[in-house]
């Protein structure tokens, strides 16, 4: 996967002048078009289920893509990323229930809380490598999950945040209206993806790739590896938290399951499905997983078997995520064409 990106970098480097401007704004343009398409969807279809589907894709998509910043770009396989998803949902829900502040303030406050918590947890975790990193993040996740369960007077314990999350109107946006919630989720998804894309394509993003490929060399080049890892850990947590907030708005509550390890597991699974070497891989994985989940559970309660077979197919058959596979296939084709 590194070769693939290196090749892409090569094609970008010589392009100067007018093409750089185009390259810089290309992502923004794509994002704008994507948002326009998604936002106009309710004009063409009255299907609430489709809108629900996209809202859930936004929540999981933000979460999975942020996890890919760690897994794919930095080589930090976090097994506890779900804690920030849960933290986002709970912080947002609790702030709205207890303080009744306008939604944007709760949104920013939640990001601030997540940022602080992620900085503390990250400071401890990113010193570790590989399996140790994975397990310590998992331990922190279980710590947060247990805290939610035991602190029942504040969090509602295993029953979750009850009574619904109030959604007062702000700036003409009424999130208790299904279409408004849908458009807001799409906006958050697109903004989040765009921001993460900028991070991934920035010099900082390439620093992360270098750390992933050879942390020792990065260190010799004068990069503070610990700081870079901590920064991306906190950034990824913020986007996961955004995903959690979208989910909290969708179900109008927050439940301990949001902070359980299974959510992190789903994130990893999504990344495996979609692929980690392309930016949109996790997004493709999200759509695939949710489609699979929604269609398979309609027909059988033995969905575990079906999903397991799909995982096996991807892990043993394709040996990579779907988008990785497609990207390589195209690269292969191009090579074959050029070879002629």
């Amino acid at each position: 996967m590194t070769e693939l990106e290196a090749r892409r970098a090569e094609t970008l480097v010589p392009a100067r002048g007018a093409t750089t401007v185009w390259a810089r704004y290309r992502d923004v343009l794509i994002a704008l078009i994507a948002f326009a398409v998604l936002a106009s969807l309710p004009l063409f279809t009255g299907s609430k289920a489709l809108l629900d589907f996209v809202i859930r894709c936004s929540a999981y998509g933000l979460f999975a893509t942020s996890l890919n910043l760690l897994v794919g770009y930095t080589g930090l396989t976090s097994f506890g990323h779900g804690m920030f998803f849960g933290l986002g949902a709970y912080s947002f829900g609790l702030i709205m229930q207890k303080l009744g502040v306008p939604i944007p303030i709760a949104f920013v406050a939640t990001l601030a809380i997540t940022g602080v918590v992620a900085a503390i947890i990250g400071a401890i975790c990113v010193r570790l490598k590989e399996i140790y990193f994975a397990f310590v993040t998992l331990a922190f996740q279980m710590l947060i999950h247990s805290t939610i369960l035991s602190w029942a007077s504040f969090t509602g314990g295993d029953q979750g945040l009850r009574g619904g999350i109030p959604r007062p109107v702000f700036l003409g946006v009424d999130l208790s209206n299904h279409v408004h919630l849908y458009v807001a989720s799409c906006a958050l998804l697109i903004l989040g993806l765009l921001a993460m894309r900028q991070i991934a394509q920035s010099p900082f993003g390439y620093t992360l790739r270098m750390i992933r490929d050879n942390a020792g060399r990065a260190s010799f080049l004068g990069i503070d590896v610990w700081r870079a890892k901590l920064t991306v850990f906190v950034l990824a947590a913020l986007f996961a938290s955004m995903g959690g907030m979208v989910m909290a708005l969708f179900v109008s509550g927050a439940y301990p399951e949001f902070a359980y390890w299974t959510i992190s597991g789903e994130g990893i699974f999504i990344n495996m499905l979609g692929g980690v070497s392309t930016f949109l891989g996790p997004m493709v994985g999200t759509v695939l997983l949710l489609l699979l989940n929604d269609t398979v559970t309609r027909f059988t309660e033995y969905h575990g078997i079906v999903l397991g077979i799909v995982i096996l197919f991807f892990a043993l058959g394709l040996r990579k995520g779907l988008l990785d596979f497609v990207a390589e296939w195209f690269a292969h084709r191009r090579e074959a064409g050029e070879g002629r």
Binding site: G157, Q159, S176, V251, G253, Y255, T297, H303, R333, R340
Partner: protein
């Protein structure tokens, strides 16, 4: 120029594939049958650790729906059940519930979810305004808390607070008669375990003021090994033990405590013992464990109840569970409400259902009532008895007194700030 045709997938077949894919994806969203049948959606737990209970809910509902359909359906409309697995995850329960209403065209919901899932579905019912009966959540706050109250949602499950009042008064009577003053508790460490134990001891002390709790154990939910808990209790030497462990946890606890001959050394009150899922699984069921009734075909000791339990067993080759009667009651109430309203429309059904009393095999006096003020089931059979190792397992059940339950429940609601 030579590149007109490459091996691999052609553009045409790609388009065809995409088209087929789009059709598959869109088909469920397009389908919206609005025939004469009425669809009732039911999210429940059909996979994972409590799948057995979810399956028993589905069985009971299907048993009753067949009867209703044979008798002409809900106000003349045949019922079609759409039952989906939520995996016990609240976000899935919410999604499935929304999908059932928005996509599958279900006009009514039977929410057979436990704990947090029920609250998630409750929010969906609030959001969509769809008629909904919660059948499995025993958390009292679901209906007692006025913040939760919505006109279109009901509950046909037993309740934590009812169980505690009856259990507390039953245990207190025995404590006084046998002079049991030193008590220990052992319950799972999560909200249900903590709340139920606190409420039980509250009422136990109220009826028997000289009782004291000398030891508390809080094993984790789904804990495999109870040795430390058992030895801790044995060392404390209590005269009686209360536990609200349930299902597999309770059966492994009993099997392990049997090794230490614990049940000969103290009186044991295990509220969730008298359920066939526990009674039939324990290897050596000790004689004389006190338990609340969950579902048992001998209580209430009426031919109707016995017939219902036998019919269920004949059809599914196993006995019903606590969740079975709760779900069956939901269908019975819906059928009666539809008769009364002469409509199957959710709004009219809700109006007819509030305050409705029906004949029911699970009623303490042969009837159950959907209380109008808080939309929850009252008058169901509730009592305590002691176990024997073979059928009928709990030969005699002492019925709880609903008058006392109502009085103390009102007091409890006031203390919680609900009224």
């Amino acid at each position: 120029m030579t590149r007109t045709r490459r091996p691999g997938i052609s553009r045409r077949s790609t388009l065809a594939l995409m088209g087929a894919g789009a059709m598959t994806v869109a088909a469920p969203w397009v389908a919206r049958a609005q025939a004469k049948t009425i669809k009732i959606g039911m999210p429940t737990i059909l996979s994972g650790r409590v799948a057995q209970l979810g399956t028993s809910s589905r069985n009971a509902v299907m048993l009753e729906v067949e009867k209703v359909n044979a008798a002409g359906g809900l106000a003349g409309r045949q019922i079609e059940m759409v039952i989906r697995d939520s995996k016990g995850q609240p976000q899935e329960a919410a999604r499935v519930a929304r999908e059932l209403v928005n996509t599958d065209g279900c006009e009514l919901l039977i929410d057979a979810e436990a704990s947090s899932g029920a609250f998630a579905v409750h929010e969906v019912a609030r959001d969509l305004g769809v008629f909904c009966i919660h059948t499995n959540s025993e958390t009292s706050a679901l209906t007692a808390d006025p913040k939760q109250h919505i006109p279109n949602a009901f509950r046909t499950a037993r309740q934590g607070v009812h169980d505690s009042i009856v259990g507390g008064s039953y245990a207190a009577a025995i404590a006084k008669a046998k002079g049991l003053k030193k008590w220990a508790t052992c319950s799972p460490d999560y909200a249900y375990g903590r709340d139920t134990t606190a409420e039980f001891t509250l009422y136990l002390k109220r009826f028997a003021p000289d009782v004291e709790i000398i030891s508390e154990s809080w094993p984790k939910l789904f804990q495999p090994d109870y040795t430390e808990v058992v030895t801790k209790i044995l060392q404390a030497k209590p005269q009686a033990l209360y536990s609200c462990l349930w299902g597999g946890d309770l059966t492994s606890y009993i099997d392990q405590a049997n090794i230490y001959a614990m049940f000969g050394q103290m009186e044991v009150f295990a509220v969730n013992m008298a359920d066939y899922t526990a009674l039939t699984v324990v290897k050596n069921l000790p004689k004389g464990i006190h338990s609340g009734n969950r579902y048992i075909k001998t209580f209430p000791a009426t031919p109707e109840n016995a017939a219902w339990g036998d019919a269920y067993k004949a059809k599914y080759n196993e006995y019903p569970t606590n969740w079975s009667w709760e779900n069956a009651t939901a269908v019975m109430l819906m059928a009666e409400a539809a008769k009364k309203a002469n409509a199957a429309d959710g709004k009219k059904l809700a109006e007819a259902l509030a305050g409705l009393t029906i004949k029911c095999p699970f009623g303490a006096d042969g009837t159950v009532t959907m209380r109008a003020e808080d939309h929850t089931l009252v008058g169901y059979a509730i009592g305590w008895g002691t176990t024997i190792p073979q059928e009928p397992y709990v030969p005699e059940v002492k019925a709880g007194d609903w008058k006392t339950i109502f009085e103390l429940e009102a007091e409890w609601k006031k203390s919680k700030g609900y009224t």
